[in-house]
């Protein structure tokens, strides 16, 4: 439902723009004075300033995207390349396994990336990769301080992403499929 809010006509004084102006000056002056007196926001919320005291990120903070493993230490990514497709700055680059490539390191998933690279210099931390991932294999994690001395160094490869990403204990879709299939067993399932 649209609610129409009537705008009150401005008085002449208000139309000179001055009252809002002065109001604005007041607000900024207030903040200025507070900072001068030492009531700085960074100090008020933390223990100190950034490089010495690392910034404590909040729960929902979205930092660098990393790949995760499941609780059994297997790569979750199946190289579906949706993140590569959706990535607005084209920071993600996946080399699929190809016909003779490495099979997945967990049963039944059939597929995992041969190489998975994220160019952290291109990444804009938008989180679309995480959103689009059907396997819950990539997450924007709390790491915000990405530095390096060369451009090459800032292209994180699969090993590094997996190592930084850690473990995400989610549902193990492929494992359950395999178990379900094994229970029915009248059809052999190619596994492992």
């Amino acid at each position: 439902m649209t609610k129409v809010v009537d705008r009150k006509p401005l008085t002449f004084y208000e139309r000179t723009y001055l009252p809002t102006l002065l109001e604005g000056l007041k607000v900024t002056a207030r903040h200025f004075m507070r900072s001068v007196k030492g009531g700085n926001a960074a100090l008020a919320t933390g223990d100190g300033y950034y490089p010495e005291v690392p910034w404590k990120v909040s729960e929902g903070y979205r930092g660098a995207p990393y790949l995760v493993k499941d609780q059994e230490g297997n790569t979750k990514c199946v190289s579906c390349q949706l993140c590569e497709f959706v990535c607005p700055p084209k920071a993600i680059r996946i080399t699929p396994p190809g016909p003779e490539g490495v099979p997945a390191d967990r049963p039944n998933a059939e597929k995992m990336p041969r190489e998975f690279e994220i160019n952290m210099l291109r990444c804009i931390f938008c989180g679309l990769c995480q959103e689009v991932c059907p396997e819950e294999a990539i997450f924007l994690q709390q790491h915000y301080s990405l530095t390096g001395l060369t451009r090459e160094e800032m292209v994180y490869d699969k090993e590094r992403l997996l190592q930084l990403g850690g473990v995400h204990a989610g549902i193990q879709k492929w494992k359950h499929k395999l178990e379900e299939a094994r229970e029915q067993e009248s059809f052999p399932v190619k596994a492992d």
Partner: protein
């Protein structure tokens, strides 16, 4: 020989003028550098941040208490900035028009510095008038020089040969022309009141009769807003507008050439502030301290007064920046042409009528 030279008035004038120019230039450049620091610090404080508090030369930290304090105040930041600007790669894109591209920063910064020449920044110091050039047409000189500054920006925008700078340059020229009119007309009423164009005389008038802001508040408002526009400060920074023109006219500039634009902007700001102090706030005078100084100490005190007023106005410039969003281009034009110019004209007429009535 030397005695002769010392006693020769021309030689004296040359010597003192050179000295004044050097000192004023030095002070101005220092002010420019520290205006940047003040800008950053004030901005930070307004936004609940801390601002520059890192740069410190080696060994300074060894000084107990003071070293730490200087560092946290960011006193050395301008030096670091300067060094950084000098060391940055001076990159000239292949597609620019080289001559104009190179000359533009200079054209921006020189007029900004030259404006200072006619400002009386003190009463007298050891018998010397504290103004570099005590021109009879001081204010006309100022307007003439200031209007040259726009060429630097327009040239920079045009010669960069790329879209954003070009748009920035175009905006700048329109904006400068628009507000110069309003600015020029706002001061006409001041001269009606004082009957003189010489800035030193205007200051003296104020010392004797009270500040001109009391006589001409409308002119002050117009002058103040126009000064914001002339110096490309927010809310009138359309030629730069980082968010839409990615820097506008100086998008393609780097290193020292960029630094010159930067210095030009702040020098302009300081010059505007100095001009406002001179025109509206009684220059070096205070209501209870208005006699031209006879002693050295008094002279220095007057200079101090002038600088204090100027710094206060510079801080206002910075303060306003964090309070207003950027004007839209049509709003800017509307304000200039349809509000301020008629208002300034009306102000002149009213002032003239009032003066005529009083003189009768």
């Amino acid at each position: 020989m030397l005695d002769q030279l010392i006693s020769d008035p021309t030689a004296q004038f040359v010597a003192f003028s050179t000295l004044k120019i050097l000192v004023v230039f030095g002070v101005l450049m220092t002010f420019v550098a520290y205006a940047v620091l003040v800008e950053r610090k004030v901005s930070a404080f307004i936004q609940d941040r801390v601002g520059p508090n890192r740069a410190v030369p080696p060994l300074v930290l060894k000084i107990p208490v003071l070293g730490k304090l200087l560092q946290s105040m960011g006193i050395f930041q301008p030096m670091a900035d300067g060094v950084k600007f000098f060391l940055k790669e001076d990159f000239t894109p292949s597609y620019v028009r080289k001559v104009y591209f190179w000359i533009a920063p200079a054209i921006t910064v020189i007029p900004a510095l030259m404006t200072i020449a006619v400002i009386p920044f003190g009463s007298k110091l050891g018998g010397q008038p504290m103004v570099i050039a005590d021109l009879n047409v001081g204010i006309l000189y100022t307007f003439g020089i200031v209007s040259l500054g726009v060429y630097g920006i327009v040239l920079a925008g045009w010669s960069s040969n790329s879209k954003y700078p070009f748009l920035g340059g175009i905006r700048s020229s329109a904006q400068m022309i628009s507000y110069e009119l309003a600015m020029g007309m706002s001061v006409v009423s001041l001269f009606l009141v004082t009957g003189d164009l010489n800035l030193s005389h205007i200051v003296e008038f104020q010392a004797n009769h009270g500040w001109l802001i009391l006589y001409q508040p409308v002119a002050f408002v117009i002058f103040l807003v126009s000064a914001f526009a002339e110096t490309n400060r927010l809310p009138f920074d359309l030629p730069e507008s980082e968010s839409e023109l990615v820097g506008g006219y100086h998008t393609e500039y780097s290193s020292m050439k960029f630094a010159l634009f930067f210095m030009g902007e702040y020098a302009n700001m300081i010059a505007s502030a100095a001009m406002m102090v001179t025109l509206f706030f009684g220059g070096w005078s205070l209501p209870f301290f208005s006699e031209p100084a006879g002693t050295l100490l008094g002279g220095l005190f007057h200079i101090g007064i002038f600088l204090a007023k100027m710094i206060a106005l510079v801080i206002v410039f910075i303060w306003v920046r964090w309070m207003l969003p950027r004007f839209r281009y049509d709003q800017l034009m509307d304000l200039g042409w349809r509000r301020f110019i008629p208002l300034a004209l009306a102000n002149i007429v009213v002032t003239a009528l009032v003066l005529a009535a009083l003189n009768h």
